[in-house]
Symmetry: C2
Subunit: 649 residues, 2 copies
């Protein structure tokens, strides 16, 4: 059956052309397609399975792209993509990579934004609606705005999990104030990425249980009109509900109750039940029950953002996030009993970062999921630290961007002893929405925030012990090692060079570590690029007879001018490597240090000016470009660096 109808859907008009009684079959085909796609490819399958009927109904009722549908964080946009000319990318395994996991205007006129961070859909929708309503005011509007097609209904689709993020509340609060047509569809599947966390979810459950009549109703509390659809997986009911709000003249929340992961449970097995033992987290694909939540569950509900089938994942070792995340959690867990104030905080993304379900169960009150709330999480951590507790806040580099002001104000300005674990920092083949290439420029320019970049497991755990121990007095971010380091460690012959252990008892990590003392050229490899620095030095020595000095700077928040000055005289060239954006990053600071020092001491006789070469990323967004290709593009390769060094000398 797979694809009999779906394969012929080239756009929303084809959905409208079906008879009403063909819609359930279309939904069944889509669900089957999602399941096959998910097993082979992975992705945010759970939320899409829950949104099959609603998405079909959306395109049945509304007129995309004239009616603008904004999918929050894009996780539930796969069905939308299938119905807007991109079905083949899901039906044909050969074409899986033709679409991204996020909405993207470059893919389709039915996608309006590139979105991958939570909670912004209502605000974006407010903007679309505002311009529509401004333009309608004057006769000249149509002409003036001719480059953008006219806008009909504006619809934001947002999950209950996304509602926990601050900007979503800001959007709700502004929607009613603004007035005019604006439809917020709340896809309530009772789940965030992991379970929902927050006080709002109790009243929300009672609202569902009452068929949308109970108070307090949080949407009405934001001044919004409100309707409820209990069976959010009944396509006919949804078509009716959407017809009822189409062309409405004021903002309204349409709250639909869906089942995340519907289709994963065997037919008929819909009774709520809780597994007696948690399923194995590394293989979160279960044909009968794939639920890893901490809460009472329905069959079919699913945790886990990016699913992989156990067949595909079986032979693969942990990726760096899970590998180093698990090590960190094990190190912290061993201290829980004697350190009552030690708390691990995750803003809703534990699994990806190695914070396993089993760990969370054992950690008890030592673990807090704050929901998708990076801003709160950072301020919360600062409060914990101010009270004498020891918080460790773990999330993805690009999500820390959502707490930039709290990093500045609540953490750095207040000098609280908080440890941030920065996952996926640096270059990777990630989506453009999740790039870690900007983390150094974000973190390392904040006064008083110590930014550590470990080059291996041992150093990573030492740094974590230090930042959470009494010797550290302020905020510290530790960039969790990435693929280059994990690969080097797994290869077994790394590191080539090892510095003498630091004799001083109190290593505060401000000093760079010279791991091999040579001359002429010094190669400084920050964090993930340190293995590359070693390889460059080895090649220079073996093939070109140049005994380069190798430096593990260990941190990128302050310059170790003592070590930098120590390189003078015996070195003519300093090479810095970093796997992040050069502009605003680390290496250029070292170059500027030497340049300014040289200019300011020009009247002194003696040493020649130090030359410099900086390697790192260009200032650009990249989208799913493989790491090796990025490295080549930026010259972060052994050959490229060696050639540049030889050229410069």
């Amino acid at each position: 059956m797979s694809g009999a109808l779906l394969g012929n859907i080239t756009g929303p008009a084809d959905v409208k052309a079906l008879s009403a009684d063909q819609l359930p079959q279309l939904c069944a085909e889509i669900r089957r397609t999602l399941l096959d796609y998910g097993k082979a490819h992975g992705g945010h399958i759970g939320s899409n399975l829950g949104m099959v009927e609603a998405t079909v109904a959306l395109h049945r009722v509304f007129d995309s792209p004239r009616d603008r549908i904004v999918f929050d964080v894009s996780h539930q946009s796969y069905v939308h993509k299938m119905l807007t000319g991109r079905a083949a990318a899901y039906l044909d395994a050969e074409r899986y990579d033709e679409v991204t996991g996020f909405t993207n205007p470059l893919e389709s006129e039915h996608d309006h934004f590139v979105l991958g961070h939570t909670g912004t859909s209502i605000s974006l929708a407010c903007g679309l609606a505002k311009t529509r309503d401004m333009s309608a005011q004057t006769a000249s509007a149509e002409a003036e705005e001719a480059e953008v097609p006219p806008i009909g209904n504006v619809i934001a689709v947002i999950g209950d999990g996304s509602l926990s993020s601050g900007i979503a509340f800001e959007g709700l609060n502004n929607a009613a104030e603004q007035g005019g047509n604006l439809i917020v569809i709340v896809n309530d599947n009772e789940m965030s990425i992991a379970g929902d966390f927050g006080g709002m979810y109790g009243p929300l459950a009672r609202l569902r249980a009452s068929g949308g009549t109970a108070q307090p109703n949080i949407f009405q509390a934001f001044g919004l009109d409100y309707r409820y659809v209990e069976d959010g997986n009944d396509v006919a009911a949804l078509v009716d509900a959407f017809e009822g709000v189409k062309n409405i003249d004021h903002p309204i929340v349409l709250h639909i109750h869906t089942l995340k992961g519907l289709g994963l449970a065997p037919a008929g097995d819909t009774a709520a039940r809780r597994p007696s033992t948690p399923p194995h987290e590394d293989a979160p694909w279960h044909s009968d029950l794939c639920d890893l939540s901490d809460r009472d569950l329905h069959a079919g509900q699913c945790e886990a953002s990016h699913w992989q089938s156990p067949d595909a994942a079986a032979d693969r070792p942990d990726d760096p996030r899970k590998h180093y995340g698990k090590l960190a959690m094990a190190a912290l867990e061993a201290r829980f009993e004697r350190e009552p104030g030690l708390v691990v905080i995750s803003p809703a993304t534990p699994g990806s970062n190695g914070i396993t379900h089993a760990f969370r169960e054992r950690a008890g009150r030592h673990y807090v999921d704050t929901g998708i709330t990076e801003s709160h999480a950072v301020a919360f951590a600062s409060g914990i630290a101010k009270a004498g507790g020891v918080p460790v806040l773990a999330t993805t580099a690009s999500f820390f961007q959502r707490a930039y002001d709290q990093l500045q104000q609540e953490l750095a300005l207040n000098g609280t002893r908080v440890t941030l674990l920065d996952f996926l920092g640096g270059l990777s083949g990630s989506d453009n929405t999740h790039s870690g290439a900007f983390d150094i420029a974000m973190f390392a320019n904040i006064p008083g925030l110590t930014c550590l970049a470990p080059t291996g497991e041992r150093e990573f755990l030492d740094m974590l012990a230090w930042s959470t121990g009494p010797a550290s007095t302020g905020p510290v971010v530790i960039r969790v090692p990435g693929e280059p380091i994990l690969a080097a460690e797994r290869a077994g012959s790394y590191p080539l060079f090892t510095a003498e252990p630091d004799a001083s008892a109190a290593d505060d990590y401000t000093g760079y570590r010279i791991t091999h003392a040579g001359g002429d050229v010094a190669v400084l490899g920050l964090g993930n690029t340190y293995p590359l620095a070693e390889r460059v030095a080895a090649t220079l020595r073996e093939r070109h007879g140049i005994d380069a000095t190798v430096v593990n700077p260990r941190q990128c928040s302050t310059l170790d001018t003592r070590t930098l000055e120590g390189l003078r005289g015996s070195h003519r060239l300093v090479v810095t490597l970093e796997d992040g954006q050069l502009e605003g990053g680390w290496g250029e600071k070292i170059t500027a240090y030497y340049a300014n020092a040289d200019s300011r001491t020009s009247t002194r006789a003696g040493d020649a000016a130090m030359r410099a070469l900086n390697f790192g990323a260009a200032k650009e967004f990249t989208d799913r470009v493989p790491l090796a290709e990025l490295d080549a593009r930026y010259g972060l390769t052994e050959d490229g660096i060696v050639a540049a060094v030889l050229d410069a000398l």
Copy 2:
């Protein structure tokens, strides 16, 4: 009467020692003191006037500092300061500057955080409470955490205006989830900095009107227990209410209804009324009615964050924010009629940035106050642009930090044509919470975000016309000129050097402008430092016979390598000036450019390497340090730069 009781209050114990019937007199003295202080010194007087009785009651009932009181954004902490040993700083005009406008642990053990940005108090309080409750779990806790005194009640005090910010909602949502003692006092004065904006304020008004019984109740919607106090300016009622929640075993919201600015209206004049004509905004101190809100008002309600008495302000011209803000608004307003999509957005801080009440009235739908919601405001602006509208979002540099992720994702990644007006960017004598020294490092390292730094009124308005016109295709931030430029423009002899008008019709501002072509030394003065660059060049020529080239770079987001290469050969030294943090900033990028270019072309014969000197701010927070002192500290002075140039040549 002023100070008879207040003058003898050395701490909360003295408040507790008074008889109950002395409390109204204490409140009256405090109110009188605030009025005198406000007239002479300015400050956030309105919210403090409303919080007099509540703050007295807080210190009457709770045991600070064991009970931790966290004042959101600190605006309403003046009375708290008076009651915790700092009354003299308000009673004695000679000592006004002994305290800052914000809570500060360096001032008092009763202050727990340095706070100046909105909405974080609940999250911080959650952190304090979490550690208290974790520590209580084990016997060893007290010993372990001995460095931090034990914690009793944890109390967050937050205004209804602050509730509009996303992190406040995140905090509310997490408070109930966490459980344990946590008291959130909502100081509801029906006002934000300007009026309240948002859909929540209607239901909140009905909640007040019903004596706290109406639904929907937004606080209960977040799963929180709730109580209401109608007369939030009755000290006895507040003492009762606080006694009722002291040592409570779960989170609760205590909603108190106060009158912002109580004491400003003449006695007896408490009837709600609306002024027939808006009062003059430049003199927002009115003995009878100082209200500038767009909403129906009570007498005594006040807009305006930092009040100045008209006597003090009368002889002073506008500060740079108001001066250039008014110019920008006038330029935009002239276009409203023929450009229906042009929208000015302010996240709750219009007045300070020259967005006057009169302008807002005239702008109608062309002006949107989104409440204190920078994240929403940026995403909203992106939505407007995507729909073909032309948004201009104006706020303070340090507040843009609250939307950093939206700058990256919704704006830059999506490439929407949004103009940001960055007020108070660069060095100033501001509080540490409001420093603009970090804005270049924040904005200019985001790919695709054009960062313009005008050097005068004409250039500022040209840039605004460009960024909001059809030639611009992506997001642009314009750093509104600051004090050095306004002073130079007012002095009348500026600029000394003027470049030829650009012959090309389409100036996209990517090119630096050589305003005077000389040799040997090139001085590049970004934005606010451009007048200094001119003075340095004049001095070099007049006193030292050096004809320095002067460059107005105009932007700091991309390097104009054509101009930089053009300086080679004829110049030996490049000097960059910027009034922001050097690390992650602008000038060091130019230095790194030359250093890398020189290293990479070392095998070519010819030009000597370019030397460089970068002047800018150190990586540090500064608190109310006068601008001249900062300039001296960082060497951003004519003498300092000239001496360094002579030394380097």
